[in-house]
Symmetry: C2
Subunit: 327 residues, 2 copies
DNA sequence: TTGTACGCGTTATCAC
DNA sequence: GTGATAACGCGTACAA
């Protein structure tokens, strides 16, 4: 920058101002300086910038790849969410640091933040780290969580109305007169548990409804498929199934078909997320739709508020039941 | 750091050495300093570090979210790839900057690199930026591309053997005696075009084989489904279809079924990627498998070599045909 | 093994 | 509007 200043016959601060679009510099000079910089292949050192400024204009997005590998990614839903976050950050010209390593305990997160690696965190899915998140929320680090939204939560969470989603599925089962329900999913994830709770509430409103729980440790396609087969082979015959994702619903359909069971003739089925293939699947999958599209933008918006010192409220996105062939 | 040094009764450089694990400091002092740092909530400023050092230990991964949104993501394949890259970088303790904004022209990339935002780029999919990539490769910026691997390519590319993939599908079609083939995919993407070329080569080895091309602009599920319907409604009746992804294959199955056509009775079908649901789909989808798992690690390995000043060769990963019900 | 002095490239502060 | 100067927090010669 020193060199550019010399060549342009101005001072270093002027170059800085010109290149960062300060209104304090004349347009004429700005253009001239920009031109010289371009010709000489000069670009402002972003690290020096970050060192000098209070903001790093970077946020870290934590994605639990571990639990999503090997087909474990429920469906394209997470990807859409990530795309939304990426886009919302782009608009604000903020960098996205993806799942930096070594972040386990709340202390790790605090250190990472104090090291000025990022201005805040977006954490996708509580998973099994609810405890850590509660700790972290007390440590004055800007963060927003995608996942279960619970009233008593000490941190800002954004997620779809999972409880309602579960209830909607249950109410539909009631309409169809189903009595032996099966919930498929890992309820140790709060998000999933809320759906289960919603389903249970609907169940209590019916008469003589029994709900079973098929807990899937690793919520992957193959795992779900195999566990469903085991379940059927134990002579269980549910007349309604609520799966934790559309991909899981596909696994269910496949497993049930292998035992001669077809939806909706032999059982009702509702999935979650409304991914594109669901509509054209055979049979077309009834599902709970959540507004994935705006989720990313909302997450970013809340986090920015928090970084500015605000205290944004948690937000719950609407869900609705989309009826297709399976239910 | 100054403070920590004072409290520990040592000098600033000693603290620096202790915290960065230099062998020049006694274990006793290192431990003592680390303890004090922990107690006082001190963490090394990573930006100052990056400013001072030649490496930033950050690499940028370019993902074309734009062409993957709204279900446009072919299937979970890209996600798996990203997970692999993320993991490989974690092991090396390198940060992953995801699709920074404002990178369009080769010049943008060069500036980004010169600004010391990242030590290099991993670019997922050539897409429509082949021209830019050629430019960029001449500019002395470390980068590796996932996608089509072509002999005359000026940059280091890693990808599966797309040509072979296409040929394998074609050879299978020949075995089954199919004569009216349909290729589904956007051949303006080099990766896809190579598959088409492979298919064509197989076609020339048969007698009386005709190949049609159904170009899908946006390679999304719904788009593929609708274009397939249009195709059938134009009274076309292929007896073999090669789709650019397994998700696309699902879209094809759905569209064909709507017109009363079922695989493998009415047509043979081969997909690509071998995603988990393909095995359990109805009908189970024959597909070309590529070694997604090691891809991420290889990309990172090549890029690191390049950053170290090496000139790594392009690499082609093996593919194989997995025969299931559809073909 | 440890300390001194300096520089990395930028922006904030204050004068003019 | 522009320029001189200091400061951001760290690593690294070099000396001790």
């Amino acid at each position: 920058m020193e060199d550019i200043a010399r060549i342009a016959n101005v001072s270093k601060p002027t170059v800085s101002r010109a290149l960062s679009g300060s209104p304090l510099v004349s347009d004429e000079k700005r253009e001239q300086i920009a031109k010289i910089a371009r010709e000489h292949g000069y670009a402002v050192n972003r690290n020096a910038q970050k060192l000098r400024q209070s903001r790093t204009n970077t946020i870290a997005v934590m994605l639990d790849f571990g639990s999503h590998r090997h087909g474990a990614i429920g469906d394209p839903f997470i990807f859409e969410l990530l795309a939304g976050v990426s886009e919302a950050l782009s608009v604000r010209d903020v960098d996205l640091l993806l799942s930096p390593s070594g972040l386990e305990t709340a202390g790790d997160y605090v250190d990472f933040y104090r090291s000025r690696n990022a201005d805040g965190f977006i954490i996708i899915g509580q998973g099994h780290r609810e405890r850590m998140l509660r700790d972290l929320s007390r440590r004055d680090v800007p963060m927003v969580v995608w996942g279960a939204v619970m009233a008593k939560s000490p941190y800002c969470a954004v997620g779809s109305d999972n409880f309602l989603g579960g209830r909607l599925a249950g109410q539909r089962f009631l309409q169809k007169g189903c009595q032996n329900w099966l919930f498929v999913g890992n309820t140790s994830h709060d998000e999933i548990r809320l759906r289960y709770d919603g389903l249970m509430e609907a169940a209590t409103q019916g008469s003589d409804v029994a709900v079973e729980l098929l807990n899937i440790d690793v919520m992957a396609f193959t795992e779900t498929h195999d566990r469903a087969l085991e379940y059927l082979d134990a002579k269980k015959r549910p007349d309604a199934v609520f799966a934790f994702s559309d991909t899981a619903a596909m696994a269910i359909i496949s497993a049930f078909r292998q035992r001669g069971l077809v939806a909706p003739d032999n059982y009702a089925l509702v999935g979650y997320n409304n991914i594109p293939p669901s509509e054209h699947y055979n049979p077309a999958i009834s599902t709970i739709e959540q507004n994935t599209h705006s989720a990313g933008a909302i997450l970013v918006e809340k986090l920015m508020q928090m970084i500015e010192g605000g205290k944004p409220k948690s937000a719950m996105l609407p869900t609705r039941l989309i009826q297709r062939e399976t239910c």
